[in-house]
């Protein structure tokens, strides 16, 4: 039976890493002794941040052990350990690139709405801004007063990130710009010299300043490096200067080679390929002639002729000479492109890179080398995996850019999950737990699909230290349409404010999510407080809430009941009576408050002024009858709330008297 084979990359989210606690929770080297005492470690990972709570725990409950186990004070402590998160010196870089990321998404969204293809120049501009941020970060790190091992590592990482990003930019963006030469060669050489140490002008000056120039051991390696990197003008200057120190024969050839080097043809967008090739052939023939002439003089006692011959061989594109002299595969690839195939386009890179890389031991390649080779070979899925090994920031933003350039579909076919969504999600997860970067993290989640669900889960767990932050989180949730998160956050805040005794704020939060049950319960609490204290103190609470335009039966009840009291205080008894009756008739009062309302009517029924008409009195009596016949205790243990039967009897008598008076008037 054939073995089932999968050809899809499954991204391993959890790279293996061992973290040691320093100092440890038990003495070093005494692990076995320690565990024999029924002890082990237990931990719990924080749901949002990069923190872990670690504590010593018993393997078995102490009650189940035959003998008593000693308890040590140091075992009673829970340790909170921070796993490596985003270092402080990265914060400016994260924020800068987040700004570029947002702008890029906006450009793509706008183009999507207007159905206009985004120009390569727009993408190139954004790509350049990303690179600018990387270079700025390298500069800031290098300027740090205390260059620790960590900072040195960061500098290396950013150099690698820049090299990778720049190469992708020249292959997919720069050479696709309309109106420019599409040859990759000048861009590749620029990339090579910018990202990998180029021969320094200071080194050249130092070598030239040497007294015995012809015998200087650094001279010719430097010249060969100049040739390999295409610094032909500098090379020509050096050759002319060196020529003065050499024998007559070597000096003549040095001058000739310098002259030829100066005349190296340079392509331009205005020149046709045919014309450039013709010029190149003529230049190459001149070099060929010089190479033949110099090699005819070899072997020679003149020590300068042989290295000069090598320089000429490199420049005429001799693959063997280039391979022999190039220290790295990048140097060799650059020299081959420059001198053998100066009009190559990007599609020539995979085969040429394959030939060059074969000469090296792939096992010795760094992650950067592997990423670059994968990119040059158009092995984009592998490329993304290596990018992730360099830095999660790189894989996330690279996948995003590749998607915008429309080259990510190859990877989509190869990965088990959508790589852009996956890497951006992973980056967002890294940031969202950071106190300063939670907002940045949420933006990386905002892609739709699974990411939105994850975003909602995280948004609900962001600590809300202040009301302003809560509003920011709610704003983001609304922006991304996370209705469920908005609902949960408001309920959570409402409960928090309720617990704190901030009833107005609690009602406002519950009102946002139309949680009428909770609002009703808070109103009941306000009513109970009134019954308990006898003081109508809830005015400011409901005023604030009503000012925000909230409408709820119980709130209306509390408002009208307050109005009733105010009218009564102002001795406007008819108005007060009307108010009381309207509360009952509109049935906005909670059932357990009806008895209190009826008792409140007694002074109006018994007053000097006739407040209630016969019909109105009958309405009141009907409510009293319904209350007494009600079989179910509505709230608490009694259907009458704080009212006792005696008070209700007084009410009944007062109603009867009022009814009689109303018939007489």
């Amino acid at each position: 039976m054939p073995r089932k084979r999968t050809d899809k990359f499954v991204i391993c989210r959890d790279t293996e890493a061992v973290t040691y606690l320093e100092p440890g929770l038990f003495p070093a080297g005494r692990q076995s002794e320690w565990t024999e005492q029924n002890r082990t470690l237990t931990f719990s990972i924080h749901p949002l941040s990069n923190q872990v709570a670690i504590a010593v725990a018993g393997k078995q409950p102490s009650e189940s052990l035959a003998q008593k186990v000693p308890v040590y004070e140091q075992d009673q402590v829970v340790h909170i350990c921070g796993l490596a998160g985003v270092p402080d010196n990265r914060l400016p870089f994260v924020n800068d690139t987040h700004a570029v990321f947002r702008t890029l998404q906006k450009i793509m969204e706008t183009s999507g709405e207007e159905r206009v293809a985004v120009g390569v120049d727009s993408l190139l501009r954004m790509s350049a801004l990303y690179r600018e941020a990387m270079l700025r970060q390298i500069r800031v790190l290098q300027e740090a007063s205390d260059v620790t091992e960590f900072i040195a590592g960061e500098v290396d990482t950013f150099h690698s990130m820049h090299a990778v990003w720049h190469l992708l930019e020249i292959i997919y963006l720069t050479t696709n710009l309309p109106g420019l030469s599409t040859s990759i060669v000048p861009h590749f050489m620029e990339w090579l010299n910018l990202n990998f140490p180029a021969p320094l002008a200071e080194d050249g000056q130092r070598i030239l300043a040497n007294a015995d120039l012809a015998l200087n051991t650094e001279l010719w390696p430097y010249m060969r490096k100049l040739a390999l990197r295409g610094h032909v003008s500098v090379l020509a200057n050096m050759l002319e200067r060196v020529g003065q120190e050499l024998s007559a024969s070597a000096a003549r050839w040095a001058r000739d080679v310098a002259k030829i080097a100066r005349n190296m043809p340079l392509g331009s967008s205005e020149e046709t390929a045919g014309s450039f090739n013709a010029r190149w052939r003529r230049w190459n023939e001149e070099l060929q002639n010089a190479a033949t002439a110099i090699s005819s003089l070899l072997p020679s006692d003149d020590v300068a002729l042989e290295p000069l011959s090598t320089v000429v061989d490199i420049m005429r594109g001799d693959a063997d000479a280039i391979s022999a002299e190039g220290e790295s595969w990048q140097d060799i690839l650059g020299a081959l492109l420059l001198y053998s195939e100066p009009t190559s386009q990007a599609d020539r890179l995979p085969s040429l890179a394959g030939i060059v890389v074969e000469q090296f031991q792939a096992a010795e390649f760094s992650v950067l080398d592997r990423a670059l080779v994968a990119l040059l070979s158009y092995e984009l899925p592998e490329f993304l995996v290596f990018c992730n090994q360099i830095d999660p920031w790189l894989s996330a933003h690279m996948a995003d850019l590749m998607d915008h350039i429309s080259i990510l579909d190859v990877c989509r076919a190869a990965f088990a999950v959508d790589p852009r969504e996956h890497y951006l999600l992973a980056l967002g997860e890294m940031y969202v737990g950071h106190e300063n970067l939670w907002r940045v993290g949420l933006d990386y989640f905002g892609l739709g699909g699974v990411a939105r669900c994850v975003m909602a889960e995280y948004a609900m767990r962001i600590p809300l230290e202040s009301d302003a932050k809560a509003r920011q989180v709610l704003g983001v949730c609304r922006e991304f349409g996370l209705a469920m998160a908005v609902d949960r956050i408001h309920r959570q805040l409402g409960r928090q404010q309720w617990r704190r005794g901030r009833l107005g704020a609690a009602i406002a939060h519950f009102a946002e999510v139309s949680d009428r049950v909770s609002i009703g319960l808070i109103c009941d609490q306000l009513w109970d407080q009134y019954l308990e204290s006898g003081v109508l103190a809830y005015g400011p609470v409901i005023d604030s809430v009503l000012a925000a335009g909230l409408s709820h039966d119980r709130l209306q009840f509390l408002t009208r009941y307050r109005d009733f009291h105010e009218s009564y205080k102002a001795q406007q008894f008819v108005d007060a009576g009307g108010m009381l009756l309207s509360i009952l008739v509109s049935e906005i009062a909670p059932p357990h408050a009806v008895a209190d309302l009826l008792v409140d009517a007694i002074p109006l029924l018994e007053g000097d002024v006739l407040v209630f008409s016969a019909d109105q009195t009958l309405v009141l009596m009907r409510y009293a009858e319904a209350l007494q016949q009600s079989p179910f205790p509505t709230r608490g243990s009694s259907r009458l709330g704080a009212v006792d039967e005696g008070e209700l009897n007084i009410f009944n008598v007062a109603c009867a008297r009022n009814l009689a008076r109303s018939f007489l008037v």
Partner: protein, 350 residues
């Protein structure tokens, strides 16, 4: 849209204020000082210095001169810094997320905590965030600080004796901003969209309440006109700036400017030209709005300032009142200090 200059400082800047210059002593006219307060991971106060643009040459600035501000001193702060107010050239007051009001001395380029007091607590005993504070506009040492908080209280703290604090519950939601229109009057904005006025002599009673009857807003901040105490301005959670003329209680909202797309975190009248209102917002921009009390000649110009490398909320700003050149400093959630300068004659920016 004009551009703000950006300087990353790797801390979330939530409050900023200029210090008055003290020529001949610690400060010279050629250098200006401001203080920023930060939140989240770095709960700090930082004293910065920047060149006075009035004395800047027109030649191309050197690399060193391109730095917007240089750090002079910093001090840890108990909680997130929610607001800073200048008391005098060498004294500032801060409001913290732990509900404390702190007084800091600025001496010999250092920030030193003098005293602090907890002014805001929930009835459960839990500390409540102090959302804003304002110093009573009197030139004497017995001035008071009014601070407001999420506990719905306004606390009055005499500068000379912080322990003689008085706090009054004035709202059941969050009191988001506070200001002193006159030395005897305090105005507060609430989350429920109300402005409440208090007479300092009877601080427990609300002397007037104003709200927009046409629309429900939620206020984030409040400020008063520098010279006309009946004019107030509030910022809302929807990005609007409301101008109030409280002489007309039936229609107190004089004008509504929809200048931002999201929460307006701070609003101020321009200190030297009060016909302009400056506001900053969650939408990562600062708006300068021209308004006029004379409606006939009213010109309604609006300018926005933002920085490309500043994508997140601008939560605070301050316009320097001591320079001829308009100079604005702001702080953002992206961990940046932002700055804008323009000649007084050039209205394009201010």
């Amino acid at each position: 849209m004009n551009t703000l200059q950006v300087q990353p400082v790797a801390r979330k800047v939530t409050s900023v204020c200029w210090l008055p210059p003290r020529a001949g002593q610690a400060y010279t006219d050629t250098e200006l000082y401001f203080v920023t307060g930060s939140s989240a991971r770095h709960k700090e106060l930082v004293l910065w210095t920047t060149r006075n643009p009035d004395f800047e040459s027109e030649s191309e600035p050197s690399a060193e001169e391109k730095t917007l501000a240089t750090l002079v001193a910093k001090a840890t702060h108990d909680g997130d810094v929610h607001d800073i107010a200048v008391v005098s050239a060498d004294v500032i007051a801060t409001a913290s997320s732990y509900g404390t009001i702190s007084i800091y001395d600025i001496q010999h380029n250092s920030l030193k905590l003098r005293e602090s007091v907890t002014a805001h607590r929930f009835s459960s005993g839990e500390p409540a965030v102090s959302t804003a504070l304002a110093v009573q506009p009197v030139n004497s040492s017995d001035a008071e600080i009014a601070s407001c908080g999420e506990d719905g209280r306004i606390a009055y703290v005499p500068l000379a004796r912080l322990d003689a604090l008085q706090a009054y519950e004035v709202d059941s939601t969050v009191v988001t901003g506070v200001c002193w229109p006159t030395p005897a009057q305090v105005a507060a904005s609430t989350r429920a969209g109300q402005i409440k006025l208090f007479d300092r002599r009877s601080p427990a009673e609300v002397s007037a309440v104003f709200a927009d009857q046409t629309k429900n807003y939620s206020f984030e901040c409040i400020t008063s006109h520098p010279s006309q105490s009946f004019r107030l301005a509030t910022g809302t959670d929807t990005g609007a700036v409301l101008l109030w003329d409280i002489r007309n209680p039936k229609k107190p909202v004089a004008e509504v400017f929809n200048v931002h797309e999201s929460n307006v975190w701070k609003v101020r009248y321009h200190p030297t030209d009060s016909s302009k209102i400056v506001s900053c917002s969650e939408d990562a921009s600062i708006a300068i709005t021209q308004w006029s009390s004379d409606k006939l000649s009213a010109t309604r110009e609006m300018h926005h300032l933002s920085g490309f490398f500043n994508a997140l909320s601008i939560g605070c700003f301050d316009v320097c009142p001591f320079t001829r050149t308009n100079l604005l400093v702001a702080g953002s959630d992206s961990g940046n200090i932002l700055m804008a300068k323009s000649e007084s004659t050039e209205f394009s920016l201010f």
